[in-house]
Amino acid sequence: MAGPALAVLGLPFAAFVLLAGVPPLRRRGRLAGALSIAAVAGALGVALDLWRRGIRVEARWTWIPADGGPVASVGVLVDELSAAMLVLVTGISFLVQVYSLSYLDAEPPPALGRYYAYQALFAFSMLGLVLAPGFLQMFVFWELVGLCSYLLIGYWYARPAAARAAVKAFWVTKLGDLGFVVGIVMLWGATGTFDFAPLFALAARGGLPAEGLGAILLLVYLGAVGKSAQVPLHVWLPDAMEGPTPVSALIHAATMVTAGVFLVTRAMPLFALAPDVLALVGWVGAITAFLAATMACVEDDIKRVLAYSTVSQLGYMMAAAGAGAPEAGFGHLLTHGVFKALLFLAAGAVIHALGTNDIFRMGGLFGAMWQTGTAFVVGSLALAGVWPLAGFFSKEAVLAGVLAGGRPGPFLLLAVTTFLTAFYMFRVVFVAFLGRPHPGAHPHEAPVLMTGPLWVLIALTVGLGARAAGDGTAAAHGPGWLAPLSLGLAAAGVLLAWAMYRRQAPAALRLAGLLAPLAFVARKRYGLDALYAAAYRGAILGLSLVVGWVDRYVVDGLVNLWSALTLRGGDLLRRVQSGRAQDYVYGVAFGVLVLFLWAQWVMR
C-alpha cells in the first residue's frame, strides 16, 4: 500500500540522480528541464490519485536498529494533511518548472540543467518532509530543503548579493534548526521514540511528562520560527528574493516556508498539551503578520512586497494554529500557496519583460500585459480576502479560529493586518498596473509557457473560492459580524490605496504624512537586520580576537618561554667551559669525591 507514496517520492529523486550523475544529460538544458518536469508531472498524477481516493497509509522501516527497538525509522505517512500537501507541492512544482523553461530562457544550457537538478532535489526533499512518519525523518528532509533553498537562492552565484542572501538564509534558519534538533532529541530522551504514531498515542494516554514538555515543544517550535520566517527570524526571506522568481514562487511562497506551519499542525496533539507554547505561537504569529504588513507598505521592489506579504500570511497561519484552530491555518496555507504563487509568477512576467523590480519604474502595465495584469489583480483580490475568491474564506476561517480560541489581542492585530494587506497589494496594482506608463519601460506580454501556468493558477484561485462558497460552510465560520468586518477592512484598504496612488487625494496624502515616522521605521526594517549583523559580526570578530590573543600570548608565549629558558640555561652552562685546565681538574676531583661518598655509603 505504500507503493504510490513511494512513487511520488521516487520520481523526483530519480530525476535528480539522473541529472546529477549524468553530466551530458544535464548540460542539455531544456532536455534536463523536460526530464524534471516529466518526473514532477508523474508525481502530481499519483498525488492527485492518492488525495482523491482518500487513501491512508503508514509504513515504517528500521533505519538504525538497536536492542530495545529501532532508534530511528523511515517511512511514509499518508493522511489528509500530507495528501493535501503532496498535491500542493507537486502541483506548484510542476507549474513553476514549466514556467521556468520560459523565464530562464536566457540562461546557458548547463546552468539551466543545474537549475532543474536543484528543482528535482527540492521536490524530493519537500515531499520527504511531508511524508515523514516521525520527527527524525522530518528533520533530515528539513535540512535538505534548507540546502535546496541555499542552492536555489544562490543560483546566480556570481552575483554577490545573491550569494550573501543564500548564506544569510542558511544561517538564520540554522539557528531555528538548532532548537528543533535539540527539542526532538530531548523528546526522544523522554519518550524513546521519534515517530508520530507512538508519540500521539502516548499523548492521548497522558503518558508524556508534563514539566519538560513545554520547553521541548518551544525548542521544536524554534525550528518553525526559522523556516516559516516568524519574527525575529524572518530577516532572511526578503533577501531570498535574490533568487529567480519561479524559485521565490515555489519555495518562498508555497512550499518550503510552509514547512514550519506544517510541523506545528502535524504535531498539534503534542502542542495541545502545552497551552503556554501555543499562546506564544499565536502571539508571535499575529505580531509577525502585523510587522511584516507594515514593512510591505513601504517597499518599492515588487518581489519584496510579495515577500513581506508571505511573512505576514505565514503569521496568520501560525496565529490560527496557536489559537487551537490548526485546520483554519492549514486551509489558509493551501489557498495562500495557490494565489501567492500566482502573484509571484505574474511579478516574474513583469520583471522578465521590463528588467526591473521597482514599481515606480512601471505603470499602466495592464495595457500591454493584460493576461499578467489579470493574474496579478485576481491574486491581489484573493490575498486581500475579497469574496468569492479562495482567500476570503480561508482568511475568515483564520480570524474566526483566533477569535474562538479566546485571543483578542492577536485578533485585533490580524484585523488591522487585513486592512494593511489590501492596502499594500492595491498600492502595487495602482502604481504598476494602472496609471500612466513609465517613460523608459517597454512591456510586452509573456510567452505562452509563462502565461499558461498563470491561467491555471487563476482558475484554481477562482475555483477554490467557488467551491468554498458553494459548500455552504462559509456560514459556519465565526460570528455573523466577522465576514462583513473583514470585507469592510479589505475594502477600506483598497479605497485608501486608490485615494493615495490613483487620485493623489490630499487627505490621503496628509494621512500618509502623519504616518511618516512609522514608515521610516518600517523602511529600516525595525533595525532587526542591523541588529543581527552587528551581533553576528561582534560575536565572530570577538571570538577571533580572543582566539588570536590566546594564540599569540599563550601558545606562542609558552614556546617562546621554553626557548628563552633553553637559551638562558645554555648561557649558564657555558660558564662551565672556561677553557682553563684547572677548572676541569676541579671537576674531576669533585667527581672522584662523589664516587668516594657513593662507595662509602651507598655500596655498603
Binding site: Y586, A589, F590, L593, F596, L597, A599, Q600
Partner: protein
C-alpha cells in the same frame, strides 16, 4: 718506638713539609727546590719499604732528571719574560676545601679497612722485579721505550726555535 717507626715519622715530616713548601711558596724557583727535597724524602721512604732499587731510580730520574728539566724550563720562561715570575695563588679556600675533602675521603676508606698484621721483614724484591720486567712485563717495557722516544721527539719538536 722502633727504629723504623722513628725513621718513618722523621721522613714523613720532611716529606709533608717539603710538599707544603712546593705548593705554598710564592717563588717558583724555591718551589722546585722544595720539590727536590720532597723527591729525596720519597726515596728514603722507598728505602724504608725495602725497595732500594726504586730508591735509586727515584734519585736518578726524579731528583736528578726532572728537577733539572724544571729548572731549565723556569729559566727559559723567566728569561723570555725578562722578569722574575712570581707565584700567586687563586681560590685558595676552595682548593683547600676540596683537597681536605679528598684527604678525608681517602682516610675514611683507610679507617674502615681492617688493620693488617705487622708484616715480617721483607726480602729484597729487586730480583723479582727484574724477573717481572723481563717476563710478563716485557712488552710494556718495550712500549715504554717507544713512549720515551716519542716523548723525546715531541719535546724536541715543541721546543724548536721559531723559523
Amino acid at each position: 718506638m722502633t727504629a723504623e717507626a722513628v725513621a718513618f715519622w722523621a721522613v714523613a715530616g720532611v716529606l709533608v713539609a717539603a710538599s707544603l713548601g712546593v705548593v705554598l711558596t710564592p717563588n717558583l724557583f724555591h718551589a722546585v727546590l722544595y720539590l727536590a727535597a720532597a723527591l729525596v724524602a720519597t726515596g728514603v721512604v722507598f728505602l724504608l719499604l725495602a725497595a732500594p732499587f726504586l730508591f735509586g731510580v727515584q734519585l736518578l730520574l726524579y731528583a736528578g732528571g726532572v728537577v733539572t728539566i724544571l729548572v731549565f724550563a723556569i729559566m727559559l720562561t723567566e728569561r723570555l719574560a725578562g722578569e722574575r715570575i712570581t707565584q700567586t695563588s687563586r681560590w685558595i679556600a676552595n682548593g683547600a676545601v676540596l683537597a681536605a675533602a679528598m684527604l678525608v675521603g681517602v682516610l675514611g676508606f683507610l679507617g674502615r679497612a681492617p688493620q693488617a698484621p705487622p708484616a715480617p721483614a721483607a726480602p729484597d724484591r729487586t730480583v723479582d722485579v727484574a724477573r717481572a720486567l723481563t717476563g710478563p712485563f716485557a712488552l710494556p717495557l718495550e712500549l715504554l721505550g717507544a713512549l720515551l722516544v716519542a716523548a723525546l721527539m715531541g719535546a724536541a719538536y715543541f721546543a724548536r726555535p721559531e723559523d
